[in-house]
C-alpha cells in the first residue's frame, strides 16, 4: 500500500479520535465510537497474534522437540505440563455447568492462587524489601549536612505518610489524639503532594503526545 494512503488513514483516524472534543453531536459521536471499535478490534487481533506466536506456538514446538526441556525433569515432564495446562483451560470452559462447579472452582483456585503467590513474592522481593532498605539507609556521618538532612526528611516523610494510612475514628473530645492527628495531617499532605506530582507528570506526558499528534495533522494537512 502506498505510503500516502497509510498516512491518510492515520490522519483520518486521528481526526476521528479528536472528534470527541466536539461533544455529543448526532453524527460526530459515531466517528469517535468507530475509532474506538476499530482500536478494540485491532488490539484483540494483535493480542491473539502475539499470544499464539510468542507463547503457544513456541511451547507447542518445545513439546514436540525431545531435545529441549523446560525443567530438569526432561521432555516427558514438559509434555505432561503442557497437556495438564490444556486440560485445566478446557475445564475452565465448563464454568457455566453448575453441576461441575466444584471442579472448575478448584482449577480456578489453583490459577488464582498461583497468581497470588507470584504477586506476594514480587511485592515482597521487588517492592517492599528494596524500598524499606532504600528508605532506612542513611548516608554516612561524614556526608554533608544537606544530604543527611534530606535523607532524614525522606525517612520521616515516608513514616508519617504510612501513618496516615491508619484509619481511626476522630475523638469527640478534640485534641486528645493531637500528636497522632498532626502526624496524619503531615502524612496526608505528603500523599496529596505525591499524587499531584504524578498527575502533573501524566499531563506532561500526554501533552508531549498531543503536540506530536497536532504536528502530524499539520504536516499531513500542509
Amino acid at each position: 500500500m502506498a505510503e500516502n494512503t497509510l498516512a491518510l488513514i492515520s490522519f483520518v483516524l486521528t481526526l476521528m479520535v479528536f472528534s470527541y472534543l466536539l461533544g455529543d453531536l448526532p453524527l460526530i459521536r459515531h466517528l469517535y465510537r468507530s475509532a474506538v471499535y476499530i482500536f478494540i478490534g485491532t488490539s484483540a487481533a494483535f493480542t491473539l497474534i502475539v499470544g499464539y506466536e510468542s507463547l503457544l506456538l513456541p511451547f507447542w514446538q518445545d513439546v514436540q522437540n525431545p531435545a529441549t526441556s523446560w525443567t530438569v525433569l526432561g521432555a516427558q515432564a514438559d509434555r505432561l505440563i503442557f497437556y495438564s495446562a490444556l486440560l485445566f483451560a478446557a475445564l475452565l470452559l465448563l464454568k457455566p455447568v453448575t453441576r461441575l462447579g466444584w471442579l472448575t472452582n478448584s482449577i480456578l483456585a489453583v490459577v488464582v492462587v498461583m497468581g497470588a503467590a507470584v504477586a506476594v513474592v514480587g511485592a515482597l522481593r521487588g517492592t517492599l524489601l528494596p524500598l524499606l532498605i532504600a528508605t532506612a539507609r542513611l548516608p554516612t556521618l561524614d556526608a554533608d549536612l544537606g544530604t543527611l538532612l534530606e535523607s532524614l526528611l525522606v525517612l520521616l516523610g515516608t513514616l508519617t505518610a504510612l501513618f496516615s494510612f491508619h484509619y481511626q475514628v476522630n475523638a469527640s473530645d478534640g485534641g486528645r489524639y493531637g500528636l497522632g492527628k498532626g502526624f496524619r495531617t503531615i502524612g496526608k499532605a505528603l500523599i496529596v503532594t505525591a499524587l499531584g506530582a504524578i498527575y502533573a507528570s501524566t499531563i506532561l506526558s500526554s501533552l508531549t503526545i498531543l503536540t506530536e499528534r497536532i504536528a502530524f495533522l499539520f504536516q499531513y494537512g500542509a
Partner: protein, 216 residues
C-alpha cells in the same frame, strides 16, 4: 441452621492452599543460593527447591495464554450477537479484527497496519488524556474547594511551571525540584509501600482460601 460442609468448596480451598504454599516457598527459596551454603550439593538442593515453582509457573503461563484466546473468542461471539441484534457498530470491530488477522496472514512480518491504525489511535487517545486531565484538575477546585484540593492543584501547577525552560521561572523550578526530591519521594515511597503491603495481604488471603470467590 445446620449447614452441610460443601465438598467442592473444601477441595478448592485445599488445592489452592497446597499449590499456593508450594509456589511461594519455591519462588522465595529457589533463587536464594546463599541459603543453602556453597558447593555442588547446595546447588542441587537449591534447584530442587526451585523446581515446583518452575513447573507451576509454566503451567500458569500456558493456562493464561489459553484464557486470553478464550476471552477474545468471547468478545467476538458477543459482538456477532450484537450485529445480529441490529447494532452495526459491532460490525466495525469484527471487520477490523478480521482485517488485522487477514493482513497478518497475507503480509507476514509487515508492521504497517500496527503503525497506521494502532499507533495513531493509541497516541490520539493518550493526547485526549491531556485535555481530560486538565479539565479534571480544574473541576477539583470547583467541586472540592478545601485545603487538600487546593494543595493538589498547587503542586500540579508548580510542577508544570517548573518543567518550562524559561529563565524567569527559575525560582519555581527550584521549588519544583525540591518538591520532587523530598516530599514527593516520601509520599511516593509510602504509596508504593502501601500497595506492596496491600498486595501481600490480598495474596495471603487468597493463599489461605479466605477469598469468597475461591470458595465456590
Amino acid at each position: 441452621m445446620n449447614r452441610r460442609p460443601r465438598v467442592g468448596s473444601s477441595l478448592a480451598t485445599v488445592s489452592g492452599f497446597l499449590v499456593g504454599i508450594t509456589a511461594v516457598l519455591s519462588l522465595l527459596l529457589g533463587d536464594n543460593l546463599a541459603l543453602f551454603g556453597v558447593g555442588e550439593g547446595a546447588d542441587a538442593l537449591a534447584q530442587s527447591f526451585a523446581l515446583p515453582g518452575d513447573v507451576l509457573l509454566r503451567l500458569l503461563v500456558i493456562v493464561l495464554a489459553l484464557s486470553i484466546v478464550f476471552g477474545i473468542a468471547n468478545l467476538l461471539i458477543l459482538h456477532t450477537r450484537r450485529v445480529a441484534g441490529g447494532r452495526p457498530m459491532s460490525g466495525v470491530l469484527l471487520a477490523s479484527f478480521a482485517g488485522t488477522i487477514g493482513w497478518h496472514i497475507t503480509q507476514r512480518g509487515d508492521l504497517a497496519l500496527l503503525e497506521t491504525i494502532q499507533l495513531p489511535i493509541e497516541s490520539a487517545l493518550a493526547a485526549l488524556l491531556c485535555v481530560t486531565l486538565v479539565a479534571g484538575g480544574a473541576r477539583i477546585l470547583t467541586r472540592r474547594s478545601d485545603s487538600w484540593g487546593f494543595l493538589f492543584v498547587l503542586v500540579v501547577v508548580v510542577v508544570l511551571l517548573g518543567s518550562l525552560p524559561l529563565p524567569e521561572l527559575a525560582p519555581i523550578a527550584a521549588v519544583s525540584d525540591w518538591l520532587l526530591r523530598i516530599p514527593v519521594q516520601a509520599g511516593a515511597r509510602a504509596i508504593l509501600l502501601g500497595i506492596a503491603l496491600g498486595s501481600i495481604v490480598v495474596g495471603v488471603r487468597a493463599l489461605l482460601g479466605q477469598d469468597r470467590s475461591l470458595r465456590g
